[in-house]
Amino acid sequence: MMFETAFTPFQSLGGGALIGLGAVLLMLGLGRIFGATGIMSGLVFFENREELSWRVALVIGMVLAPVLLFAVTGSMPALTIPVSPAMIVIGGVIVGLGASLGSGCTSGHGVCGLSRFSIRSLVAVPTFMATAAITVFLIRHVFGG
């Protein structure tokens, strides 16, 4: 299923700046890369309480964000899911496998890695951007999603 979505350059730029600010704060305060895959796998396969506690606090803050936005603005952020639950499961397993094998996802390689000019991220980001675009093309325009 395809849905038109509105082009939102200003919200996206402003939201992106806040994402960057979050990444900077985590580095400034705790000296860590803001990689969602690493943070999630650190929750699942935690090594000690010290490493677990800040990740739990961080994730609680992340989950509270739309709730706070709802409290302030009176509406939840837009969230339209144009794919089936089966595709969410299949996509999710592949995301988990791929991001852990490749040591990062959009936040870790994309935001934190590219801003440091990490050579691994400079390879990873164009790779996953390309395969995502090819996948969407195949699903929507070849197999007719």
Binding site: S12, L18, I19, G31, G35, R120
Partner: protein, 143 residues
């Protein structure tokens, strides 16, 4: 204090994800749909995030250590191997199928949509598949 700082940091990041459109799979998939209902907004998300992170990191690193102690832990690997390229390629395929990535799905959980929880459970299942394929122990943490 450290935990309150972490919570506020998560809140800032999550608010950015929500405002930017990253947590909306329809918008994410449209960003990749160059041949269809293309929406270039997410390039602005990445642009905004990169500018702030580029300058912010450099300011943060002027300090000798993070505010709450320890040291700055930055990945230093430079090896381009099959795990990096193949893993990233797979990640993109999954992202293109589901429309969610982990950093967007965690804040999206706060909207209360059950599909988001389903996605995150599937991601954790993917972590376990990776461990079955090649046990890593605690060797190399993902970013």
């Amino acid at each position: 204090m450290k935990l309150i700082f972490a919570l506020i940091t998560g809140l800032v990041f999550g608010t950015g994800i929500a405002i930017s459109g990253m947590m909306d799979p329809a918008k994410v998939l449209n960003f990749f749909d160059l041949a269809g209902t293309w929406d270039p907004s997410l390039a602005f998300v990445m642009g905004g995030a990169l500018v702030i992170t580029f300058f912010g990191y450099r300011l943060a690193w002027k300090r000798n250590a993070p505010l709450f102690g320890g040291r700055f832990q930055v990945p230093t690997g430079t090896d381009i191997d099959m795990k990096l390229v193949g893993g990233s390629a797979l990640f993109g395929i999954g992202w293109g199928i589901a429309g969610f990535c982990p950093g967007a799905a965690i804040p999206a959980l706060g909207t209360g949509r059950w599909e988001v929880a389903l996605f995150l459970v599937a991601v954790v299942a993917g972590f376990y598949v990776r461990r079955l394929l090649s046990p890593v122990g605690s060797a190399k943490a993902a970013q």
